[in-house]
């Protein structure tokens, strides 16, 4: 009898839906080949970028990627320099490795900053509605009316070009996207009856927002964040290419593209390899983000 009841208790042990849905989510993610490739590529690149970030003196495996060598300039790919050298004789392969953390870092930081500000704005607009909603969303519409790169350009020209300013500029450009998505999800969630029930119990707005609305709108936020990192990286590279972003000699990929611009016909590899890396990173983020969206919510597929 005692054994039987013990077993019954074990049988009825609850499975936390978060753990359960997490497992199901991974199952769905694993089925999606392209998302998985994106995930592995990103994991590998993140790992590599840590090495670049640790060493501020541009020394990796005994190679100083900032060391110029006029005797070796504009050399094509070889066993000594896998991706060749640039117009100052610097090893492109190691410069790409070192630049990785800057590129990824700007992407992550800009998106994170955008989310930190954009998500609360969207929740406030959606939850309170009325004139607050109108003001916030009209400001977001104004930001959205500028093409992203133009807005970033304007902000950088005001603040001056540096890694941090580029990050801020891109973060501001990402605000409307976050605010809009979060506002929409908040509007849907706040109409659910359990939000009314908790309101009828006399809960404060803060409690309702943080404990009942935010956890239930996390999935669109996560998906949007992943997808936005890719476009943030593109914008950062674009700004650096125009000479307004990260300043030389920092091995930022966009700046490296710019360096190689004058030598495109003699030494195409100078622009080819950084360009290829940008494509790979952006593609990986997009593949992973798309897969993430399908895995989190199989119902919304656009």
């Amino acid at each position: 009898m005692a054994v039987a009841s013990k077993e019954r208790v074990r049988d009825t042990k609850p499975v936390n839906p978060r753990i359960k849905s997490f497992k199901e989510f991974f199952k769905r993610l694993r089925k999606n080949k392209s998302a998985l490739i994106g995930f592995y590529v990103l994991a590998f690149l993140l790992l590599v970028s840590i090495f670049g970030a640790i060493d501020a003196n541009y020394n990796l495996l005994g190679v100083n990627s900032n060391a110029t060598s006029l005797t070796e300039k504009l050399e094509g790919p070889s066993a000594a320099h896998w991706f060749g050298t640039d117009h100052l004789g610097r090893d492109i392969f190691f410069r790409i490795l070192h630049g990785m953390y800057i590129t990824l870092g700007v992407g992550f930081a800009a998106t994170f900053m955008g989310a930190i500000v954009g998500v609360p704005l969207g929740i406030i607009a959606g939850y309170y509605g009325g004139w607050l909603d109108t003001i916030i969303m009209r400001v977001m519409d104004v930001l959205l009316a500028f093409p992203g790169i133009l807005l970033a350009l304007a902000i950088v020209s005001v603040l001056g070009g540096s890694t941090i300013n580029v990050t801020i500029a891109i973060a501001i450009g990402s605000l409307p996207q976050f605010a809009r998505i979060v506002r929409g999800s908040t509007l849907t969630t706040k109409k659910l009856e359990y939000v009314d029930a908790i309101r009828a119990l006399g809960a404060r707005d803060g409690k309702i927002i943080f404990q009942h609305i935010l956890p239930n709108i996390m999935s669109p936020i996560i998906v949007n964040t992943t997808l936005f990192i890719a476009s943030a990286i593109l914008s950062a590279a674009g700004l650096s290419f125009l000479g307004l972003g990260v300043q030389p000699p920092t091995p930022e990929w966009g700046a490296m593209l710019n360096d190689g611009r004058n030598y495109m016909y003699q030494a195409g590899h100078i622009t080819f390899f950084p360009g290829m890396m940008i494509v790979i990173v952006v593609l990986a983020f997009n593949l992973f983000g798309d897969g993430l969206r399908d895995a989190i919510d199989p119902k919304q597929k656009n």
Binding site: P14, R18, E193, Y194, A197, A203, K207, P215
Partner: protein, 364 residues
């Protein structure tokens, strides 16, 4: 039974603005609830019935200030509820709770029963923090759930069990008034009976007062002391349950009651079909709002708004009706201005032409 008034609603109006145009100006209003007054005594069950869209749920939500009413006065135990500040209202909310229609939407899917119940008690600061879990277990037992289910999540329960959790959450803060917003209409008939019995038992044991919003007249007859019949945001008839069912005075109530199926094949009672659909609450008909569908309508009905008042002098209890001809119809002095049975187009609730459908079926 005590006859103290617990809740008094006077001239309650709930207009929802319709925004439109370039600047989002208010173009018009949906008059969901238009000037209704009623009271609920302590320990009573009052039901609000009517078609969907007649404003019965809106009334419940307005009383709780889930939607801020446009106008009117709601007095709960002598306190003007609508005049309370936000924080005063939060304290007041422990006295008035609501049970929702959809047991699948009314519980946060990420919280276990325990979290839901303890959260309710924490918000209203009920009991010592240490005792709350024990109290949660007691409440679960009261509403007929097993104690070992306390750590489960809503998706692990059936619809009826979820509704019990909803009731438990409402009970957790020791309310005096519970507004049951279609609390059983989403459940199976057998489960409905169980939940209704539970609600009645709780009423006896805890002295609760119910405002029961429903469209199922069978359920309403079973549990309520008094009934309020609403049509298009107005009360058309209000009175003791027995009197309303035995002697409906408003043509709309008569039509509603005639729609209750009778479990007797020999009983061929006359079914009153109403013409057309419910008019839009944005631009309700003038005079008596029911005149567009009423078989007894006259010119007076189109111009003069009938007052809700006691008409039948032979009845001593409460039975108010808002119809110019309530007594005349009853005593046969006022005949229908058009015969319902001879109306060529007979429409059912969905506006489908039944007569045509039958012909089509015969042709096949």
């Amino acid at each position: 039974m005590t006859k103290n008034t617990l809740l008094e609603v006077e001239g309650l109006k709930q207009y929802f603005p319709i925004k439109g145009g370039f600047l989002g100006r208010t173009v018009n209003h949906v008059k969901a609830v238009d000037d209704i007054s009623f009271h609920i005594n302590e320990g009573e069950t009052v039901s609000v019935v009517g078609e969907s869209g007649c404003g019965k749920s809106t009334t419940g939500r307005a009383i709780l200030r889930l939607d801020e009413p446009t106008e009117g006065k709601v007095t709960f135990q002598g306190t003007d509820v609508l005049a309370l500040s936000k924080s005063e209202m939060r304290k007041m909310r422990s006295d008035m709770q609501i049970i929702f229609q959809d047991p699948y939407a009314s519980l946060n899917p990420r919280k276990t029963v325990k979290m839901t119940l303890i959260e309710a008690m924490t918000i209203q600061n009920i009991g010592e923090p240490k005792e709350r879990e024990q109290r949660a277990l007691e409440i679960m037992e009261t509403v007929g759930l097993q104690k070992h289910q306390i750590d489960r999540f809503p998706h692990e329960f059936s619809g009826g069990q979820r509704q019990r959790i909803g009731i438990a959450r409402a009970l957790a803060v020791n309310p005096k008034l519970i507004i049951a917003d279609e609390a059983v209409s989403a459940l199976d008939v057998s489960i409905q009976a169980q939940v209704l019995n539970l609600l009645q038992r709780l009423q006896r044991e805890m002295g609760l007062t119910y405002l029961f919003i429903a469209h199922d007249l069978g359920v309403v007859r079973h549990i309520s002391d008094r009934i309020i019949v609403m049509y298009l945001g107005k009360i058309v008839e209000m009175g003791d349950t027995k009197s309303i069912f035995d002697n409906p005075q408003h043509p709309y109530t008569k039509a509603l009651l005639s729609a209750i199926p009778v479990p007797d094949p020999k009983n061929k009672s006359e079914r009153i079909f109403l013409r057309g659909d419910v008019p839009s609450p944005i631009d309700p008909p003038s005079g008596c709002r029911f005149h567009t569908r009423c078989p007894f309508a006259t010119d007076k009905c189109r111009t003069e708004i009938p007052v809700l008042e006691h008409k039948d002098e032979t009845y001593a209890g409460q039975h108010d009706v808002a119809c110019h001809y309530a007594i005349d119809i009853q005593e046969g002095r006022h005949k229908p201005t058009h015969e319902m049975k001879n109306v060529r187009k007979v429409l059912d609730e969905e506006g489908q032409d039944i007569a045509e459908t039958k012909e089509e079926l015969n042709q096949r």
